[in-house]
């Protein structure tokens, strides 16, 4: 009985090539775009930052291209450690990682609203001093020297500091401090600075940054001073970019 019915359907489908007959497969839409190719990434790096079951998933849209490329290479080559990403990237070429970095750097996504400020006045003072003035005695330049006057990053290697969740920044500082595998390769300038910061300072800075609104024009700045370029070994990094 059912067999007969199915046979009849096939017959009908064959005759009229009617769309939507239960037997015919709906063709899968796989456009030749980066967006389609990046579906494995957006399961975690969606439109919003989110806390996953195993980790904090940072936003990647709109970050400087060179910065993203370095991070992707770090994950693939075991210099920044997060296993699910390392497995995804393990057999991909540098060129494909550059294409991914380019794609995500040009993606515009709205920023989340600032987190409520939970710091004491003393913590705010501490944070502002490091961000605006630095601490020459410990060779810590002001954060703005590298991360841009507006703290929105400097093309093409230095990421912005606004619009990042406090928890994510604290985790990054922790990873730099514990040295080890995290981000060892490229930008030692940042890990050197992070190692100088005390836990109290790192927490204060992260809390202050997370509570700032993101300026309306969200582009990153250009032009790092010669001294900072040297410190971060920018010339060597430029070789890896197209």
């Amino acid at each position: 009985m059912t067999r007969l019915f199915v046979a009849a359907l096939i017959y009908v489908a064959g005759l009229a090539s009617a769309p939507g007959v239960a037997i015919a497969a709906n063709s899968v839409d796989a456009p030749d775009t980066m967006a389609e190719r990046m579906k494995p990434c957006t399961i975690c790096h969606g439109r919003d930052e989110k806390t996953g079951r195993d980790a904090y998933y940072p936003r990647i849209a709109g970050k400087p291209e060179g910065y993203l490329f370095n991070q992707l290479r770090n994950f693939r080559d075991g210099r920044r450690y997060y296993r699910p990403m390392a497995l995804l990237l393990e057999n991909l070429s540098d060129q494909y990682l550059r294409d991914m970095a380019h794609y995500f750097s040009t993606l515009k996504q709205p920023y989340p609203p600032p987190e409520p400020m939970a710091s004491t006045p003393e913590e705010i003072k501490l944070a502002r001093k490091l961000i605006d003035v630095g601490d020459a005695a410990r060779k810590i330049p002001p954060c703005r020297e590298c991360h841009g006057r507006e703290l929105m990053g400097t093309q093409p290697f230095i990421p912005g500091l606004l619009g990042l969740p406090r928890a994510y920044m604290i985790a990054q500082f922790g990873a730099w401090r514990s040295g080890g595998l995290m981000r060892r390769q490229s930008m030692d300038c940042m890990s050197e600075i992070a190692k100088e910061l005390t836990v109290k300072e790192a927490n204060a800075v992260a809390a202050w940054l997370a509570a700032q609104p993101v300026p309306a024009h969200t582009g990153s700045g250009v032009g790092l001073s010669a001294e900072m370029s040297r410190r971060c070994n920018i010339a060597q990094l430029e070789e890896a970019l197209p």
């Binding site: 497969a25 796989a30 190719r37 075991g78 210099r79 991909l92 494909y96």
Partner: protein
């Protein structure tokens, strides 16, 4: 314990007919030539023999066919400087430095020393090597090809790098045991051609059995496993790859990865680009495609395909039974179907048809219905991209679901895809998924 197929084959072939010129230079592509390292200044006599550059280029090509760099390079490390850990049930092997550094590499070796390693599996000082170095296959390589590879390695920039020693568990660390194993299971011998077959087939067999060392993973019982288990060690089920949660399907079974029914062109496409209409590569096979197979000349890739297609059907492994479709099983499959619709259908299609060369079909796909189901569990937990290759530079990928689906949901959706659209295979259990999560390396 059955001796391995490899030994039977080598017995059968030894002394049959006159070998054709197997090591006749493959048409070295321009790419291979330009990829050859620049000669170092100072380290070599200034006036090089005219042919030396060509020999090195051929050696570079052959070293790729053997994927020497894959094992002898640590993740993100200097090429050929060793330091990659290979974890096996017998302990962790750390690959040695094979750059021409005089103290930490093989800078003091002669071509004869190197031949002894490739052909006899012995180090320069005579120490028998562990078959984690696949000399059980490389022994089939001709002397000329061995010399070419050696000249390529000697032309590399020397890297001074000491690697930590291998940590081999007792009793496998005992040299007498290794020697015993060698006398029983290892017969050195260059590949001997089968005169009844074409030159192309023989070239393919030479590459597959020798440098390609495919049987190191794809053989049901590789020699190491067979013997070590006599000595009381763990046995590896089927082609489960040492120390990893991947199962290498049999190349001689139409239920697994046998290629008898494939057109030669599709086999070539899979080997050299990593994707094909019927299957895509992932995991260790994607790595082999990326580092080795994609660099083969068209002729060599075709020769391998012709040989692989000709492999006879072996007795299929017993399959775990497909479930009877009781009321309860139907209920589970329906739950699996719902998960499929929500998370998988966008790419793999409502009838598991996929998109050729982009998203693999799941209907009629042997990797999907294979026993044991370790590879499909891995696919769903970890996702993955096929390799970037010249023929498929920006592959499409599969998202990891380890953080999205619970073990029970992974088991349900896989049970469904293994029993939908004409597929029939055993159900996947939550416990199997859980085990894979633990052993995920």
């Amino acid at each position: 314990m059955k001796p391995s197929l490899f030994i039977v084959v080598s017995f059968l072939l030894t002394g049959l007919g006159v070998p054709p010129d197997l090591s006749s230079a493959p048409a070295v592509q321009e790419k291979a030539v330009s990829a050859a390292p620049a000669p170092q200044t100072g380290a070599k006599p200034v006036a090089k023999a005219a042919g030396a550059g060509l020999l090195e280029a051929r050696g570079a090509y052959l070293a790729r066919a053997g994927n020497c760099m894959g094992c002898h390079t640590a993740q993100g490390g200097r090429p050929y400087a060793g330091g990659r850990s290979l974890s096996t049930p017998f302990g962790t092997f750390v690959t040695p430095n094979i750059t021409p550094d005089k103290t930490t590499g093989i800078g003091r070796w002669s071509a004869d020393d190197f031949w002894k390693a490739m052909h006899e599996g012995k180090s320069r000082d005579g120490r028998p090597l562990y078959p984690a170095f696949p000399y059980t296959e490389y022994t089939k390589v001709t002397r000329q090809d061995s010399d070419a590879i050696f000249s390529h390695l000697q032309a590399l920039p020397p890297v001074t790098q000491n690697n930590p020693p291998s940590r081999i568990k007792a009793p496998y660390n005992l040299q007498p045991l290794l020697s015993l194993w060698r006398t029983v299971y290892f017969k050195p011998g260059v590949y001997q051609a089968e005169p009844a077959k074409s030159a192309e087939w023989n070239r393919g067999a030479y590459l597959v059995q020798g440098l390609g060392h495919c049987s190191a993973c794809h053989e049901e019982r590789n020699p190491l496993t067979g013997t070590w288990s006599i000595e009381g060690g763990e046995t590896l089920e089927g082609g489960q790859i040492m120390g990893s949660n991947w199962y290498a399907p049999a190349l001689t079974s139409s239920l697994e990865a046998g290629l008898t029914e494939w057109p030669v062109e599709e086999i070539v496409q899979l080997l050299t680009t990593g994707v094909s209409p019927r299957a895509t590569t992932s995991g260790p096979m994607a790595e082999v495609v990326r580092h080795s197979l994609q660099h083969l000349t068209k002729e060599d890739a075709r020769a391998m395909a012709v040989y692989l297609k000709s492999l006879p059907e072996s007795k299929p492994r017993p399959k775990a039974n497909a479930p009877a479709l009781t009321e309860q099983v139907r209920g589970w499959l329906q739950q699996g179907a719902d998960i499929y619709k929500q998370h998988c259908q966008d790419c793999h299609g409502d009838l598991g048809q996929g998109v050729p060369g982009i998203y693999p079909p799941l209907a009629g796909n042997r990797s999907v219905t294979m026993t044991p189901p370790v590879n499909v569990i891995r696919s769903v937990l970890n996702g993955g991209y096929p390799p970037s290759t010249a023929g498929n530079q920006r592959p499409y990928g599969m998202p990891p679901f380890a953080q999205v689906l619970h073990d029970g949901e992974v088991a349900l959706v896989l049970s469904y895809v293994r029993n939908a659209w004409g597929n029939r295979a055993s159900l996947v259990t939550t416990a199997q998924v859980d085990r894979s999560r633990e052993g995920m390396h």
